[in-house]
């Protein structure tokens, strides 16, 4: 009987956590707007095939009759120099942008967090020195520059761009987590876990890491915007996505030469970039308050 009651209670308590997290998050109207925006963007990205007016625009497609048409009812964002529907290309471009965000964030954050935990927990030892000095060296090089160098050395495409960003930015996560770990390490509950005989894995991932989540998640939402922007920048220069891939940055780049008469070719994808980044930033606002603990 006791067992059943407790299992029931355990499930309902996890739901309670989610409810409380949502309550705190939703207090901030801006964050909710950001969340709605991102959900719409994700929906568009997933179902781009079905909802875009002209899915073939994303691939090799040429229709010079309709080239450079201004925004109209049939082409809401106009068409580009190849006659492709800009809006459809934006939809597919969002797919690529989100794909980049997810992959780069997961790689960058997981590697950076693990390195930071290890360096922070074993501080004042050679482990910390090795990890943090490597991180320092990478941080000394401007991120975009490093990413561009890597891309230019290897075959320029989206995968290389993602790899380059991961290498350039994991040290930021390492540093944040390092700082948090060194301060949490001295707390009594960590001592208590050590004295009880917990393994290193348990202490790092189950005791220290949950207390670092708030700043990490906030940074991740801000980084999402940065990743999109950097990916777009890399593609703008021509080192990232190659034509005809509809990547937002390369769309902006190839549309620049048509400014200012055919402004929609360049500015529509630029505007899309701005909106996506803003939505991620708005979410970041709410993440911090989501983790706030109420007063006892």
């Amino acid at each position: 009987m006791l067992k059943n009651m407790n299992i029931q209670r355990e499930k309902s308590k996890k739901w309670d956590d989610a409810k409380r997290g949502w309550y705190n998050y939703s207090r901030n109207f801006i964050s909710v707007m950001g969340l709605v925006g991102i959900l719409i963007i994700v929906f568009i990205a997933i179902f781009a095939n079905y909802i875009s007016p002209s899915p073939e625009s994303a691939a090799v497609y040429v229709n010079f009759d309709e080239a450079l048409q201004p925004p109209s009812l049939s082409h809401i964002c106009g068409t580009d120099e190849m006659g492709r529907d800009v809006l459809s290309r934006i939809f597919f471009g969002l797919r690529i942008s989100l794909y980049m965000v997810v992959i780069v964030l997961s790689l960058m954050a997981s590697f950076g967090i693990v390195m930071g935990l290890i360096a922070g927990y074993f501080n004042n030892s050679y482990i910390e020195t090795i990890i943090m000095r490597i991180a320092d060296m990478l941080l000394a090089i401007p991120g975009l520059l490093l990413a561009l160098v890597i891309c230019s050395l290897l075959t320029p495409n989206i995968t290389t761009a993602m790899m380059a960003m991961t290498v350039a930015w994991w040290p930021w996560y390492c540093r944040i987590v390092y700082g948090l770990t060194t301060s949490i390490k001295g707390e009594a509950y960590i001592w208590s876990a050590e004295v009880s005989g917990a393994s290193y894995t348990h202490i790092l991932f189950k005791e220290i890491l949950p207390n670092c989540l708030s700043p990490i998640l906030t940074k991740m939402t801000l980084d999402a915007g940065l990743i999109i922007l950097t990916g777009a920048s890399i593609s703008f220069i021509g080192l990232g996505a190659q034509p005809p891939t509809p990547e937002l940055g390369s769309m902006v780049s190839s549309g620049v030469k048509f400014l200012p008469e055919h402004w929609w070719v360049s500015l529509s994808p630029a505007f899309a970039i701005v909106i996506v980044i803003m939505c991620f930033n708005f979410i970041g606002d709410g993440i911090a308050s989501m983790f706030e603990k109420g007063e006892g």
Binding site: K3, A188, Y189, S192, A193, E194, S196, P210, N211, K293
Partner: protein
């Protein structure tokens, strides 16, 4: 070595090396603790009492000295190197309840972790039963299992910390100022709970605090520390009826009491002056020299050694000779 002694500490020293010099946190202390008693260590900040607890529990390794547990094991080892049984047997309750419980974990997980680390209770249900049992021991209902530490008050957090210490069935519990941050009414509940549990399971406590009135009601034998060394050890009633060391008398006379009969117990010949000197680069001679109103010539040059005044009452002061 009596088999009745749970713990015998001999010339324990713990030094920390920092850029400014050597901090002699614990500078040669020796004492013994009998089974089932509450041994109290009283002292102010800088006396080294918390460091003693951390060395005994294995958080620090002593610089010098022997710690003999149950007459057999020398436990001067870091907690990583201690045996599983030893880790279970000696538990510690920390001073600050706010930082001794992981804020991102529920009480159930906090209590379950020690069991998991020692592989006690094969099935989840066995562990749950143990958790419920230990919560009952400290007087908390099962409803607390799914709460987070920030949802409960300081006293309840400390009760959870005590439950966590009890869940591994220890023999010796080190209590480092367990109620210092609690209000008086909550403190009384926590202390009464500790006393009941001790009687029921015949536990041995080492109780550390700076609050003399509390010590009077909790400890059976009391040692007073100053600047890393023990100044006086006596049975509880003897300690307050007949305090000998000038520091002991100074400390008792500084206590703010709430009744006339307590006022009578306070020594009238000494009032507190001065401050504890820095434990870095301690000078020669008696550590209390700078504040003692009863110094004699030898106090400046030589550190006194223990003298037994009565059975069970020892004091370390040049004013008392064999």
């Amino acid at each position: 070595m009596k088999t009745d002694d749970v713990l015998t500490v001999d010339c324990l020293k713990k030094y920390f090396i920092i850029p400014q010099g050597t901090v002699k946190a614990v500078n040669g202390i020796s004492f013994f603790v009998k089974r089932g008693e509450t041994f109290g260590i009283v002292g102010e900040s800088g006396s080294g009492k918390s460091t003693v607890a951390y060395v005994l529990s294995g958080i620090y390794r002593a610089t010098e000295g022997n710690i003999i547990y149950k007459g057999k094991y020398d436990i001067n080892k870091n907690f990583k190197k201690r045996s599983s049984k030893l880790k279970r047997d000696i538990q510690i309750v920390f001073q600050n309840p706010g930082s001794s419980l992981n804020p991102s974990k529920r009480i159930k997980e906090i209590l379950e972790n020690p069991l998991k680390c020692h592989n006690i209770g094969k099935k989840k249900n066995d562990r749950e039963e143990k958790i419920v049992e230990v919560l009952e021991m400290v007087g908390l209902s099962t409803g607390y299992m799914y709460k987070y530490p920030w949802m409960i008050g300081g006293g309840e957090k400390q009760l959870v910390a005590i439950a966590r210490a009890l869940i591994l069935d220890p023999s010796l519990i080190l209590l480092d100022e367990p109620t210092s941050s609690l209000d008086v009414s909550v403190q009384a509940k926590v202390i009464n709970c500790l006393i009941q549990i001790q009687k029921k399971f015949n536990l041995t406590y080492i109780f550390i605090t700076h609050d003399l009135s509390l010590m009077r009601n909790v400890a059976s034998r009391i040692a007073i520390m100053y600047l890393g060394k023990i100044c006086e050890v006596a049975q509880s009633s003897e300690f307050f009826d007949n305090p000998l060391h000038p520091y002991t008398r100074m400390l008792i006379s500084s206590v703010m009491v709430v009744s006339e009969e307590e006022e009578k117990l306070k020594p009238k010949d000494i009032t507190s002056i001065g401050e504890i000197p820095s434990p870095i680069n301690v000078p020669l001679g008696c550590g209390f020299y700078s504040r003692c109103p009863k110094i004699i010539e030898i106090c400046k040059r030589e550190d006194p050694s223990f003298v037994e005044i009565k059975k069970g009452h020892i004091v370390r002061c040049h004013l008392f000779k064999k």
